[in-house]
Point group: C2
Amino acid sequence: MKALYLENTVLELRDVELPKPADNQALVKVKMAGICNTDIELVKGYMGFNGILGHEFVGVVEESSQPELIGKRVCGEINLGCGRCDYCSKGLSRHCPNRSVLGIVNQAGVFAEYMAIPNENLQIVPDSISNEAAVFVEPIAAAFEILEQVHIQPDQRIAVIGDGKLGLLICQVLKLTCAELILVGKHESKLELARSFGINAIPKDKQILEKFDIVVEASGSPSGFSTAMSLVRPRGTFVLKSTFASNLEINAAPIVIDEINIVGSRCGQFKPAIRALEQNQIQTSPLVDSVYPFEKVLEAFERAKSPGTLKVLLQLDD
Amino acid sequence: MKALYLENTVLELRDVELPKPADNQALVKVKMAGICNTDIELVKGYMGFNGILGHEFVGVVEESSQPELIGKRVCGEINLGCGRCDYCSKGLSRHCPNRSVLGIVNQAGVFAEYMAIPNENLQIVPDSISNEAAVFVEPIAAAFEILEQVHIQPDQRIAVIGDGKLGLLICQVLKLTCAELILVGKHESKLELARSFGINAIPKDKQILEKFDIVVEASGSPSGFSTAMSLVRPRGTFVLKSTFASNLEINAAPIVIDEINIVGSRCGQFKPAIRALEQNQIQTSPLVDSVYPFEKVLEAFERAKSPGTLKVLLQLDD
């Protein structure tokens, strides 16, 4: 089968063997996949990953030891826990110390015609959700993770820093709390898009005098980190969503003096994300920049890498 | 009266006018005061403070519009809120954006024969607590602040990094949770002292393989910060107690990947600290390095500045 292979920071479309699913796994024919900023970081050498890239996908189960899954359209949680440790036993396999992660850590990813994945990682996608939308389940789940970690009260004030793909999804999810919400970003076209979602979107060079109960950093830039920190009220919460590849230089004194709570936030559970899409709570189609056929995956990566690009999708099968 | 004045990073024992308490304030004759690491940072220029230094004290009320306070032995909360803002109305005057802070921000401190302080900041010291112990109420309250901010469960595992004055108080306070507790430090004599309090104290060069639910950084050194971060389990809590005068360079990726919760922690409420001393839950006398008469305050500062020194106290009045 065809697969996009990353080896020593070089991407190549290769012919590889079909994956052989283990007893507890399903063989999934990938229909559509999404390129995430993490994929772009991985190509630069982040995590030192070599193998088939990709973790955002929707596909159809062709083989499985759970016959009720066969023929079903599915997406899948990306962390594969050991199933035996304390984290796994508490439903937190995404923090299993021995986990592998699809296309990120010790596990073949989804930019391939077929992939193998544990049955228990799969979630069936309701018919009302298109493939183009289902590919967003993983990043929407990452946005919902904030609500799993932080109790946001409806009378609070939230600022999201960063108008990229993740920031725009986070805004749509946090808007569901009906808390007062602003987005601070630097791309006028994306701020305009956010406004079309009913979000109060503000350019980053506009001075903001208020402080916020909760500030979410999703810009991925050190300057975004500083902006975010300056907007948190004393005893407020700073949610760190961006992964910074390089070290950050921070002034830690305000964290202590103002007793700021910093919450690192990564992957979330898929079920709330699927429900939100089913209920039409989240708009994804305006976030799609382009759809490339799989044979043009290298072009798709070039497109995804250019600054300010929204979501680039890969079409593997109709 | 005599007072220790800080001006442009120079300390001087000066003759100054007696403070004139406002209507809501008391005039307190200072009996004993403690030198804190923050005082030493202030002398280096931290916060740009000029004025009478000092914030840890015990004294006797000589004048007050609340007659029931006169003649009482008291200690006092160091943050003076505006009394009108949202923080003050929630009992969080220590986060009032317009606050002054005794001997730290826009407010004369306690290294003086007399001081003025709002009546509402005063707490009466029970007779069973000596002056030498009462001076520790402020830093013990800062240790209890951790328990106000973080729900520590008795089956959890805690590591405290830093065996200085604050670390040794924090250990004694956190020991009350009966959680599993270790102290990591670099001074064998202080680790030995911690062991005499029944605390499992470990030298920092000993390899620690376990991870902890809660890690408290109280070392004040960048290497302590890194050690602390490496010991937090995924989804664990990192309590930042040290104020770092200079910027810190941090690798933020593990905060996101492991979804660490960083909690900045500063001043606490005095009542639990007073109760703990009354109940003999905290030992303070082994933490006293020396007691200097007030006229030798400059010598006392030299002593307090030398690395590894425990608490240096100033005797102002018998």
